[in-house]
């Protein structure tokens, strides 16, 4: 059936249209003869032309009912690819074609609903994407609603990570909204029989100035039979003319958060819902030998589930579930595990072959031997970074419900479609029988790419025959989520006496290849990433390994500057040709007063700079050290950031401030301690995170480059703070710290002596 539909679309070739608009042939629900009939009508009506591509979408009862009548506009990446992708699948049952990357709908009431597979985890993209649509469609922000991260309703999306929302999703939505605006103007011009060029939209109303005619965009779509492709030549509003983009629109649903009304996953409650808990092994790598669940099963209202090594309970309250779990007697077999004390030797000894983006990589420029020969001074050092935890304040949570052979799971994840696949695989279901919905979530920082709680809740709910909610405890989140990788980084470099770097060799073991290349202009380079075995489960973290790689690189740059007796700022400027990097360095240094700040003897200053994911950052810090207690306090931070054209300056500042505060933790004191397969500090009372008292004075300098495309900003601002602090510690004490965290137990003894000692 699918192939037939696609056969009819071939008349579209050879042109590649990228946008489609259609009015939905949906029978209003109040006189729908039957839901089945409704579904079929949608498919039939759309089986002509390119719109058949979205037939799977329109057979989705919930989607059609959610929309009601009105205008639907879709952005398709590549029509040809779309046609090729459908072979052999039933149209009504297949997942949506992945080539459709965005759609929006205008209801007859004038409400604009935008569908995106991205999720909101505090980065405020619900607001920035709303602004994007408001800008291009010329509709007030208040009339736009975003449906996010719902695998039944929103287009396929890889996930919300990698700072991709702004460069890709915002760009897609701009085009969809701009195309819709043009379509509506065409429609009004035809209806009013006036020149197309004299029609425009403002404030959600189509207007013709000469005749004084106007109509709300919702009313305009009423009764229309639109089904046509829109060419991808639509004009986007140039940033110089932005009215809504580039302004600090407040968080669109902010009120729901300050009143407690917003329901995170962990707040959801379904009728008859039970609370689930899962039995955890006492250590990583432990296997279940025997389990006795009789006492737990005897408790009133408690359901015990055992499937292989999975043992879990569901009960009418979370405390009953906890009690039932505690009543389970289990015997585990453990195996020896490396500890955090020996982790860096372990990583160096356990290099592995890996494929793909996590695999070994090598970047060579010139000849490192030649660069080494040209150098007058030679430098070699090793840097390390510890495993750290994301510790999102909302731990992993999921609510699962099985109904009519379909599984619906609400969960806080950055990859709703990835979690849908995990669930489908785990339960042997086709993906269209699994729906994942992501309510705006209590943060992620790269730590919620997976669906552990979703799988657990679904397993328990299937056995219980009722909806089940699983909310991880803080200890579970600290133990059974995944960590930012630990790593070892070796740097070898050579410089001339005038400060020109001639050779740069850089080896990263395990922590990752993000931002591994140097942004400095060095003629001879050898840069390698070496994957290794990891004793702990590891994964993404805000900015991935860019933090580790910047820490090693920018600390080494500081060491090199001191080796040749140059100011660290002048040394960097001498060795770079990237003007965007120069601009942020100079902006930060100017605001900070680099070289001009008068410092007491307990103070030190440091700086660091870099780029990643299209953003450029430079950070200067001033620290105060207490040579008696060993305390290090960051007193002032100036960060200059440039990420192209700024979509929302206040939310950008909020992200930068937040990244700096979060970065303080990994820089100064955060480290996961482990031994015998156990996390030793799996609580906030044992794992210190930044608090109010750690807050420095923060000044953010934004460079708005309206001539450049917008890049994401949730991650990159974190990369400069750790090396800047380390460099400032050296400045204050003469002692170089080459490990993250820098001072988990305060300054080392040699740094506590007075400078004159």
């Amino acid at each position: 059936m699918r192939e037939e539909i696609f056969g009819e679309t071939s008349c579209l070739e050879p042109e590649r249209y990228e946008l489609f608009a259609t009015s939905l042939p949906i029978i209003p629900t109040h006189h729908a003869p039957s839901r089945e009939g409704q579904d079929k009508s949608a498919v039939t009506a759309l089986a002509e032309g390119p719109l058949s591509a979205i037939a799977p979408l329109l057979t989705r009862r919930q989607f059609c009912q959610a929309l009601g009548a009105g205008l639907l506009v879709l952005l398709v990446r590549d029509v040809r690819a779309l046609q090729e992708s459908g072979g052999g699948q039933r149209a009504g049952a297949s997942p949506l074609p992945r080539e459709i990357s965005a759609w929006l709908h205008i209801g007859e009431d004038g409400v604009v609903t935008v569908y995106t597979g991205k999720v909101e985890v505090g980065q405020n993209i619900r607001t920035s994407l709303t602004q994007v649509v408001a800008e291009e469609l010329r509709v007030p922000v208040e009339r736009i609603r975003l449906v996010m991260g719902d695998t039944d309703l929103t287009p396929f999306d890889m996930g919300t990570f990698g700072s991709r929302t702004t460069p890709t999703m915002a760009a897609h939505l701009r085009r969809v909204a701009a195309a819709t605006r043009e379509l509506l103007c065409d429609l009004a011009a035809q209806q009013w029989k006036v020149e197309r060029a004299t029609v425009e939209i403002s404030e959600g109303t189509v207007r013709h100035a000469a005749s004084g005619r106007s109509q709300d965009i919702g009313a305009l779509t009423r009764g229309q039979k639109l089904a046509r492709p829109i060419p991808d030549t639509v004009a986007l509003t140039p940033p110089q003319q932005w009215r809504i983009l580039g302004t600090s629109v407040p968080k669109v649903n902010g009120r729901a958060f300050v009143t407690g009304e917003h329901r995170y996953t962990s707040d959801l409650k379904l009728p008859g819902m039970l609370y689930g808990k899962v039995l955890r092994p006492p250590a990583f790598g432990a296997t279940l030998v025997s389990v006795d669940t009789r006492e737990a099963e005897a408790l009133p209202g408690v359901i015990v589930v055992r499937e292989g090594d999975f043992v879990g309970v569901a009960a009418p309250s979370s405390e009953q579930a906890a009690r039932a779990l505690a009543a389970i007697r289990a015997e585990w077999k453990t195996t020896p595990q490396p500890s955090s004390r020996e982790i860096f030797e372990y990583l160096k000894r356990n290099e592995i072959e890996a494929q793909g983006w996590e695999g070994r990589s090598q970047h060579v420029v010139g000849s490192i031997e030649e660069g080494w020969r040209l150098a007058e001074k030679h430098f070699q050092q090793t840097y390390t970074v510890a495993y750290i935890a994301h510790a999102p304040l909302e731990p992993r949570a999921a609510v699962a419900e099985w109904k009519d052979g379909r599984l619906t799971v609400w969960t806080g994840t950055q990859r709703p479609f990835g979690v849908r696949s995990e669930l489908a695989r785990a339960f042997g279901l086709p993906e269209d029988r699994v729906r994942v919905i992501v309510p705006d979530t209590g943060s992620g920082y790269g730590g919620k790419h997976t669906g552990e709680a979703a799988l657990e809740a679904a397993r328990l709910a299937r056995a219980a025959g009722r909806p089940v909610k699983v909310v991880w405890t803080r200890e579970e989140e600290f133990t059974w989520a995944y960590f930012r990788p630990a790593g070892v980084i070796e740097v070898r470099s050579g410089v001339k006496a005038d400060g020109t770097i001639t050779a740069w060799e850089f080896h990263n073991y395990n922590s990752g290849a993000a931002a591994i290349r140097t942004p400095y202009a060095i003629p001879h380079q050898r840069i390698e990433f070496h994957p290794t075995r990891s004793p702990l489960r590891q994964g993404s973290y805000r900015a991935l390994a860019a933090t580790a790689n910047h820490f090693a690189r920018e600390t080494a740059m500081d060491e090199l500057a001191h080796m040749v007796g140059m100011d660290p700022l002048a040394f960097r400027l001498k060795n770079l040709t990237d003007e965007r990097l120069r601009a942020v360095l100079e902006a930060a240094a100017n605001r900070f007063g680099w070289g001009k700040v008068r410092l007491a003897s307990d103070r030190g200053v440091g700086l660091a700079a870099g780029l990643e994911k299209g953003g450029y950052v430079a950070t200067c810090v001033e620290i105060a050290v207490d040579r008696t207690s060993g305390d290090v306090k960051v007193v002032r931070v100036v960060t200059a950031f440039e990420c192209g054209a700024i979509l929302n300056p206040d939310h950008l500042r909020n992200q930068i401030e937040g990244a700096l505060v979060m970065g303080l933790g990994g820089a100064l004191f955060e480290a996961i301690e482990f031994e015998d397969g156990k996390i030793l500090n799996a609580r906030f009372s044992r794992y210190r995170v930044p608090r109010f008292s750690d807050l420095p004075q923060i000044e953010v300098v934004l460079l708005d480059r309206r001539d450049l495309p917008s890049a994401g900003a949730g991650e990159t601002p974190i990369v400069g703070i750790a090396p800047a602090i380390g460099n400032a510690i050296f400045h204050a004490t003469g002692v170089r710290r080459r490990s993250l965290p820098l001072v988990p137990h305060g300054l080392p003894l040699e740094a506590r002596r007075q400078p004159q000692d």
Binding site: V258, G260, E657, M662, R691, S693
Partner: protein, 160 residues
């Protein structure tokens, strides 16, 4: 053993049958469906579960429910009056003092308790009072500004 206790939450009396040692947090969230109060750590370390008991900030995750029977409890849901936000809620929105918002109810409840006992807190006093509340998104500077702004609003309202 379950007991019948009376809880006075946001001006409403609830008679509920509970095990008296259950945490106030779980009773608020699961029995009364007041989910604005959040779980963050279960050990009184993060402040996400903060509610007011007789106007004072209390960590509901480590408070057995029987201890607060018949005492006035205010949760984040009870802060707005007749649809009008508390000045600190307004200030959070005006300053943009949140990102993911999960810590926000606990921050606001702690801030309200601070302002009730100290209507003109210095920045150092705010830091000291709020230091038991964690914001992983790092909005601390904005939260301090929001409290300062709310303090000013409340003084101005008081004068009127």
């Amino acid at each position: 053993m379950r007991e019948v206790i009376e809880l006075h939450v946001n001006g409403v009396r609830h008679r509920i049958e509970v095990e008296p040692n259950r945490s106030l947090l779980s009773v608020l969230r699961e029995d009364l469906d007041l989910t604005g109060t959040k779980y963050g750590c279960g050990e009184g370390q993060c402040g996400a579960c903060t509610v007011l008991i007789e106007g004072r900030a209390v960590r509901s995750c480590i408070t057995p429910v029987h201890l607060v029977a018949s005492r006035p409890i205010t949760t984040i849901e009870g802060l707005a009056r007749g649809g009008r936000l508390h000045p600190l809620q307004e200030a959070f929105l005006e300053v943009g003092a949140l990102q993911c918002g999960y810590c926000t109810p606990g921050m606001i409840m702690t801030g309200v308790a601070l302002l009730a006992s100290n209507p003109e807190p210095s920045e150092a006093e705010i830091v000291r009072f709020m230091n038991g509340n964690i914001c992983r998104c790092g909005a601390y500077g904005r939260i301090i500004r929001a409290i300062q702004r709310a303090a000013q609003k409340m003084r101005e309202e008081g004068r009127r």
